[in-house]
Symmetry: C2
């Protein structure tokens, strides 16, 4: 049967970059031994405008039944003043939670042709290849109680709850260990066990799982503040980093920025495999909706395209097709083709479409 893909292009530059992904999907349909059924729907601000909610029940249902979801980006100034529960981001968070996408894979790769784009010295980031595994359905993002409460003295109190269970920690750590085995066999687990009991539990459970099942993988532990420092000081010391939802949000953004090529970085969010081995999955670029350049045919579609490559690799086990896309990206970069965000002296500026053309030609 054909693979079913649900495209949720979202807001800002989302629709533009997903347009280029569609072109590549079409190309694959025609040229490779794989076929896709591609459907589209709304999420984020676009869904708010159409349905008054950032994610409709119908869309969620379609996302759950699709073989994989490809998301563009959500959010923008237009919806910034909406109350918390209505913001476009809630659509994305609801997808993560309802699809139980607990493992967020964020590669931070420094592309050789783009080493100079980093604010870090070339020798610090050249060859960088880190995989951050961020827990995505627990912790402070979803813990209860939460909210803003009035105090008797007329003041207010804002509360969020960081909470993790054994099960939640073990399943995401297992993903990290499995990935490490296919990479350089090293996992660094990061928390604040010196300050937070949830971090103590995290460290203990990761350590136990390691001893039980993954003692062949090298495991280290690092406080999250130090991990942020070490990412700046010597990022190449890391192979796989596993961490919670909130620390992962911050650390993966710092790691992404080290590479100097935010417009190039994909991500995958995965759930548990079902009986057939298929995981619920959502793929999205790390960059945001970039409202400042939206609609101008300027955005870099590579992150979205590499997210599709991750989809081929992780959801459909089509490593060769994924390689094809990744090689095309490298070739196009090597040829000096650049969107505005990665433009450098001696390279050639192209539009979003132009980048799509170059990639398909490759």
């Amino acid at each position: 049967a054909n693979k079913s893909l649900l495209v949720l292009a979202g807001d800002g530059i989302g629709p533009e970059v997903m347009g280029q992904v569609r072109r590549v999907v079409d190309w694959m349909d025609r040229r490779r031994a794989v076929s896709f059924d591609l459907a589209e729907d709304l999420v984020g601000g676009a869904a708010l405008d159409a349905h008054g909610v950032p994610l409709s029940d119908a869309t969620l249902e379609r996302a759950k039944t699709a073989d994989a979801v490809l998301l563009g980006a959500v959010g923008g100034p237009k919806w910034d003043d909406l109350p918390f529960e209505k913001k476009p981001e809630r659509g994305l968070l609801a997808l993560r939670k309802e699809m139980e996408l607990y493992a967020n894979l964020r590669p931070a790769i420094c592309f050789e042709a783009l080493v100079e784009a980093s604010t870090l010295k070339p020798e610090v980031v050249s060859g960088l290849d880190i995989m951050i595994v961020r827990e995505l359905t627990g912790g402070t993002y979803f813990g209860e109680p939460r909210g803003i409460f009035d105090l008797p003295n007329g003041e207010r109190k804002g509360i969020n709850t960081q909470v993790y269970t054994t099960h939640e920690i073990r399943r995401v750590a297992a993903v990290a260990f499995e990935l490490a085995r296919k990479r350089n066999n090293r996992v660094c687990s990061s928390e604040k066990a010196n300050v937070m009991e949830s971090g103590v539990l995290w460290r203990e459970e990761v350590t136990k799982l390691h001893a039980e099942t993954y003692s062949d993988v090298e495991l280290s532990h690092m406080y999250a503040d130090n991990c942020g420092m070490q990412l700046v000081r010597a990022p190449k010391q890391f192979d796989v980093i596993v961490t919670d939802n909130l620390f992962g949000d911050m650390l993966s953004d710092v790691a992404a920025m080290l590479t100097g090529s935010l417009g190039m970085l994909p991500s995958a969010s995965l759930g548990d495999p079902d009986e057939t081995g298929q995981r619920q999955a959502l793929y999205e670029p790390v960059h945001g909706s970039a409202p400042d350049i939206a609609g101008e045919n300027k955005a870099n579609p590579v992150a979205a395209l590499l997210s599709f490559a991750m989809c081929l690799r992780y959801s459909f086990d089509l490593a060769e097709d994924a390689d094809l896309i990744e090689e095309a990206v490298k070739a196009v970069l090597a040829a000096g083709v650049r969107t505005g965000d990665i433009l450098a002296p001696g390279t050639r500026a192209v539009s979003t479409e132009g980048m799509g053309d170059a990639l398909i030609a490759e």
Copy 2:
């Protein structure tokens, strides 16, 4: 009356670097129009070994009654396996909480002579001068409920609570606005208001206080993950950053590492002024106890010394004396005198003592 200083040298390199601070205090006593009564006591692992607790009640009492506390560093592998409640860090956290040191000032300055020590490109960090104001007595560090609990199914659950009240947010924001007025008049407030209600409250209260009292200061808001990114991308865009305890822990460490001179960075932790205008205050280097080089007369005492300069400035209003120390540091660096951590081709290696000598000579 003499100013009373309590020195808590702590663990690892703490005693060595504080030794050099003592020498400078003595020098000031003799050469400047100010006198200090200096007492010493134990904290962290040192206190654990002596008294079985990381901070004794007697020490806490002395800290509260001193005009200012100068702390070295706490922690080390010797105490790493102790249970959560006994760890050396608890001593430091108890001091912060019991002395109500809610405003943690962490300057991230890139010293001109050390620009090359940064892993970032010189043009990105040269001239960098950021002040991070981190809330230090609230949030996830101290919120209740907290702990590790057994679940009926045999699993465990780790909980921490992020909580902030109006009052806690306003008082630390006020410190940030006041500092900004003496600097470049810009405050960036950082949270995750897109995900956490405590962040929504933070943003609202900072905005209100700004409108009421500090509308002359330029205020912006930035999500904490983006703030981590922006620190790597273009750190000079910031003047003062104000943020909560946990985000402040991470962001200030990333900012510190940008400067390439962790061994150079001081911090101040301040409470509310009393009737006489005096604040409870603790000063400590940003670096940790560095057990790997402890006792080897290798550590850089400059961060501890600049922490003492902050003490002169903030606790005793002795700006001239503080300038004297800061100028001596710059002169010594310009003369190419370096401890091992900042050694570079063409500079002269000195010991902890040697650095103290050079600074006192200046």
